[in-house]
Symmetry: C2
Subunit: 346 residues, 2 copies
């Protein structure tokens, strides 16, 4: 609890002076004002985050939190829970979507096991297991409040370790069959948004499966009665260790004034939790893409962020971050490499 409190207290505001200097430079570049749209917005926000008007991305990492969800007992996913460990293994072997797209973006992966049912043998896994899977939230809380705080703190530590190792652009990803169910439940409890808007087909549910998934969440709400004004209460009762760990990543990155990218629905839910704990954390986040999962729009609106990509993706894992990294890097290069009107004597 101490690390969480210390981290939250240390998250500051964007550096308005650096943002103003960035805006001045943007206005001096060889283009009609504002014509590079979100690239300019990104460049300016980066200045606010780092305190430097012109930035350079040195090393990129996607932080991936793994967990198994007890609620998979209720058959809310088209895949069995055993697939989680398998997906984590394929990431470590470089064969998963995020491994391929991360490599393409020049990004490293840091894969943390917070709560898989089975243990991963493949080298490279970061074992910070808190428990072997969460509980089925239709029967009681998914985890204790202490466990949720512990997972958040491991997320904070993961982000801080990455920053210490020289990574200055972070992304977020996750592994956990059933985590669109836990995410929808958390968002529903926290924002009051209707389940019809929040609940999607995840990895490929039928119409019947979709109705069942909403019903399971309703039962979880009735059983646990989460307090919507207490994000950690909501998280521990209906969430997962992956969401908790990622919420910690957002808080940790913000405390280290390092930009961090939201992937899709699950990491977006974690971002909402982080913002409910400390609103200023939003200023250090970027969204990547509009996922097919309908709840991602609710997340972007809650956070006041504008996705860059419209790719109809819904794989998760951190795949959207990998694509967004290239764009964020492009934004730094317009600042450092474009000519100015002064350069050409105008």
């Amino acid at each position: 609890m101490e690390l969480l409190k210390k981290t939250v207290d240390s998250i500051g505001e964007p550096d308005r002076d650096a943002m103003e200097k960035a805006q001045e430079r943007l206005n001096s570049l060889l283009k009609p004002p504002g014509s590079l749209g979100k690239l300019e917005e990104i460049a300016k926000r980066l200045a606010g985050i780092t305190g430097k008007p012109v930035n350079r991305i040195n090393k990129k990492a996607i932080l991936i939190m793994c967990n198994d969800n007890g609620v998979t007992e209720e058959k809310v996913s088209s895949f069995p829970a055993e697939v989680s460990a398998l997906v984590a293994e394929t990431m470590l072997k470089g064969l998963a979507g995020v491994a391929v797209l991360g490599r393409h973006a020049g990004a490293d992966l840091r894969i943390v096991d917070l709560g898989l049912f089975t243990d991963i043998k493949t080298p490279g896994i970061i074992n910070r297991k808190i428990r072997k899977g969460t509980m089925n939230f239709t029967r009681g809380p998914a985890m204790s409040r202490d466990e949720a705080v512990k997972a958040i703190e491991i997320g904070i530590e993961t982000a801080l370790a990455a920053v210490k190792d020289g990574y200055n652009l972070l992304g977020t990803g996750e592994v956990g069959i059933g985590n669109t169910t836990t995410s929808s439940a958390v968002l529903h409890a926290l924002t009051g948004e209707s389940l019809d808007i929040l609940v999607g087909r995840g990895a490929g549910l039928t119409d019947e499966g979709l109705t069942h998934k909403k019903d399971v969440i309703r039962r979880g709400m009735e059983k646990n009665m989460p307090d919507r004004n207490d994000p950690i209460d909501v998280l521990s009762k209906l969430g997962g260790l992956d969401i908790a760990g990622l919420a910690g990543c957002f808080l940790g990155a913000a405390s280290a004034r390092t930009p961090i990218v939201i992937d899709g629905f699950i990491s977006g839910t974690a971002a909402v939790i982080a913002a409910a704990i400390k609103p200023a954390v939003k200023e250090f986040m970027f969204t990547s893409h509009v996922s097919v999962e309908p709840g991602t729009k609710v997340i972007s609106e809650y956070l006041g962020l504008h996705p860059m990509l419209s790719m109809d993706m819904r794989l998760g894992e951190g795949t959207g971050c990998a694509l967004a990294f290239n764009i964020i890097e492009a934004a730094t290069k317009i600042m450092s490499e474009m000519g100015t009107f002064a350069d050409i004597g105008m």
Copy 2:
């Protein structure tokens, strides 16, 4: 006229067999079917274009056509015509937006002067000047039919030369103050879409400027009476040499079965011209982003293509292509690098 005819005749259909093989591979990859969205769609369309289920991008180029528009006499732009040559110079010097973003994407630029008022001295310019600027279309046709065909053929030659030099992913860009006016006019004449939907603020017009721009286009329509069933008639009367050259790039790339990316409003208008000449050319195109120019939506719908990026950009030059290149390359890598269910014994 002979090269144009030969090129149009040689444009074939997508290779359905290769697309089917690509779809089989996509289905075998370690992910829920379809969960990589447009990345999968891009990979499949590339297979149709090249005839190979798995593709690899070797070299990338953005083909940039430069022209000055006589209609700038009517003060339809917030910049004077002299700025066109200046922009081309900054591209050649590596200082323009497309130069920076092209470098970031690992793409080369090929900058062709088809009709700038002034001559470019900076090394690297490809001088294929047809005339020094087009005519003011409120007083008569912007150019002769022969000149329009000549510009299309230079575009074809530019694309074919790039393919011969080993480039297997092409983009399109342009320089030409006033070319959102010529593009709006061409699209209006060709599609019948209302000017209120098609005409935007270009590089930064006021409300008054916007009304004036529409009025100038209406005068051009009345003066020239273009035949909407004859795309080359529309192009020569209301278009520019940049649009004509880019239409040729699309036709040339398609005839060489090479993927080519639309940037924004002007290259999109050229793509519509190319598709009006030969509908099958659409199958070889990709759109990059939804520009702020409102007409880009009309273009995407006409071509049946789905932009990948939502960046609020409106610089043109080819900047959107540079960002899209990274995504298209990512799509090739999921095909060549992701593991399959068979790989992990499932």
